[in-house]
Every structure is written in C-alpha cells, then in structure tokens.
Symmetry: C2
Subunit: 203 residues, 2 copies
C-alpha cells in the first residue's frame, strides 16, 4: 500500500525551514541547498515540492498572509473582539503587528521578501505576493474605519478613504519601528500610540 503523504504539511515544513534560515542568516542565505539542510531533507526532496526558488519564496510569503488571516478569522469565529469600537479595532490591528515572537518572525520574513521584491522589479512574481499582504492589511483598516463609522463614533469631518490610508500607513510604520528598535517601540508603547490615533478619529 502506498504511503499517504500530506503534501500540504510537507510544503509548510519546508516553508518554515526557509523562515528559520531567513530570520537567522538573511534572505541572501536562502537557497534550496541551505533550506534542505535546515529541514533535514535532501535538496532533491525540496525540489520535488518547489522546483525553483521563486516558488519557494512565494509560498513562504503566502504563509505569512495566511497566518494573519487565520488569526483574524479565529477572532471573528469567537464572536469578534469585545468592548468599545476603539478596543475592537485595536484588538484586530494587533494581529498584524510584530508584538510577540511569532508575529515578529512573520514581519521579519515579510520585510525580507518585500526588500527582495523591490530589487527584482522586473521579475514581478514576488511583487504579487507582497501586494497580497499589503492589500490584506488595507482591507482590514477599511473594515475597521467602517466599523467606527457605523458605530457612529467616527468624526463627521473626516474623509473615510483618507483615514483608511493614514491608518494603514501608521500601522506599517509602527510595525517597522517595533521591528527596528523593539526596546524603544515596545508592545505597550505601540498599543498606546495606536489607541491615541484611533481616539483622535472619534467624535
């Protein structure tokens, strides 16, 4: 009887080995060979799942967006966050901020891919995956600004589209700062700044 292989789990296992390599040695070090060594596989076995490096990088990148989406869905499934509109928005936005070890790893990997995608402006394939994460976060900001608006607390003089873009940029900036100087931009400080920003949008 042939062995049943969970190909999806195998792909995730390889992508996680890639994450560890990128986090430890930088994206420069991520090759099929180093990733195979990290996963304890042969290079041939890795190539069976990912014939080229671009496919491997794209899969790992998509794993970041999938993990964020899964956390948001889990939050929705549990009945959503509770409390004031600000508290609810904060709770959701935290899922996209590098405020613990797991989310820091995701952010570091995202930044590494983003930087690589910027450099490979003609290749385009990495760019598509960066856009997916980027658009996902904008969509979250959009939902939360609409939530504030529907709960009647958003200031009437504010332009919703502009506030979505401003919130989105602020989130990415705070994430960047939390990653660059975690001692200064601590989780507590990032939450405080974000809360202050959200409150400034309310009437």
């Amino acid at each position: 009887m042939p062995k049943l292989v969970d190909h999806g789990a195998r792909r995730e296992e390889i992508a996680e080995a890639l994450w560890r390599v990128v986090r430890r040695d930088g994206i420069r070090a991520a090759s099929v060979r180093t990733i195979a060594a990290e996963a304890g596989w042969s290079a041939g076995a890795v190539r069976y799942y990912f014939p080229d490096q671009a496919g491997l990088l794209s899969f790992a990148m998509d794993l970041v967006s999938r993990r964020v989406s899964e956390r948001i869905s889990a939050l929705n499934a549990s009945g959503g966050a509770k409390g004031s509109p600000t508290a609810v928005a904060l709770r959701y936005l935290e899922e996209a901020l590098p405020l613990d070890e797991e989310r820091r790893a995701e952010f570091d990997v995202w930044i590494a891919f983003m930087a690589q995608a910027q450099a490979e402006s003609d290749a385009g394939s990495l760019h598509e995956h960066v856009d997916k994460v980027h658009d996902g976060l904008r969509l979250l900001c959009e939902s939360l600004v609409h939530l504030l608006s529907e709960s009647g607390t958003l200031r009437k003089d504010l332009d919703r589209r502009r506030e979505i873009e401003r919130l989105h940029a602020l989130i990415d900036g705070l994430a960047l700062h939390a990653a660059i100087q975690p001692g200064r931009s601590t989780p507590a400080r990032v939450r405080q700044l974000l809360r202050h920003h959200l409150e400034s949008l309310l009437s």
Copy 2:
C-alpha cells in the same frame, strides 16, 4: 610623481556600484565580486578599500543618511523652507520620502539593509547603521514638532513626545507604501496625506 587619488570619491564610486547591484538584483547578489564587476574594477581593488563585505555595506548605508542630511543642510543653508509651519514641515519631510528616482533608490537600499540587519540580529554592525538613519529621521520629526509648537500652532492638548513618535511612524509607513505601490501611493497622494496629518495637529 605619484598619482593623487581621491580615496573618498573612490569609496563613493564603489558604494554606488553596490547600490546599483542591490537595486537591480537584490542584496543577495551584492558580493565583492559582483560589485567589482559593476564598477569595472578588479575584486582586489574593491578589497583594498573595503576588506570585507560588512564594511562595504555599512559605508553604503551611511551614504544614505549622509545624502539625506546633505539635502536637509542645503535646505537650511538656503534660508530654510518658506511658508506656513505646515508647508515648512512638509518641505523638510519630503527629503526623507521616496518621491523621486534618487530618493526611491535610497529607500530601496535602506529597506534592503534593514531587512538584512533584522536577519543578522547577533552581528550588530549593520544594526548600528540602520539605527543611525532611524534616529536621524526621528530627530527631524522632533525638530518639526517643536517648530509647530514654537510657532504656537500645535494643539495644546497634544503630547509632544507622542506626536513625534506618531509622525515618525507615519512617515516611515508612507515611505513604505510609496515604495511598494507607487501607482497607488503616488507622490501627490503621499503629500496630501502628510499635509492632512500635520493639519490635524494644529489648533
């Protein structure tokens, strides 16, 4: 008679070759060998100026902060920006945003180094240079918030330290967005969002 060599200019020439390699092929591709080829030099000649790659990367990174500082100093020397406090702040902040080809190159290089520094958390040497750029931008935000405060236009209910951090995070987020999706986060849109943010700080 021995030839007079401008070592500083030579170093910048090499750093600029490194910039082109990083922008075109990613930081993964930046080695003494590829940079020498790009500059039209021998690898030995590049090694004469930069014995190791870490030194080369650090120099290129510092070149980014030096260029931004030089533009700010030039602005100061020309009597500073003119107009309302918002217009002045905008004019200065633009120097740190990737709104034209030159500043886009600087930002892409900075992001590539930053990502690499994140990965090399133990090495520390790249980190120091990332911090320098980061702290430089925070200092600029600090000066501008103080300017708004001294001109008497900053809202009295705002905490200056918090507003410096919020502005700094917003600037980096806007820069990131301008780099990731230049078609959506156009220079005009980025200026508009930044102007709106600055105006929200005024009484």
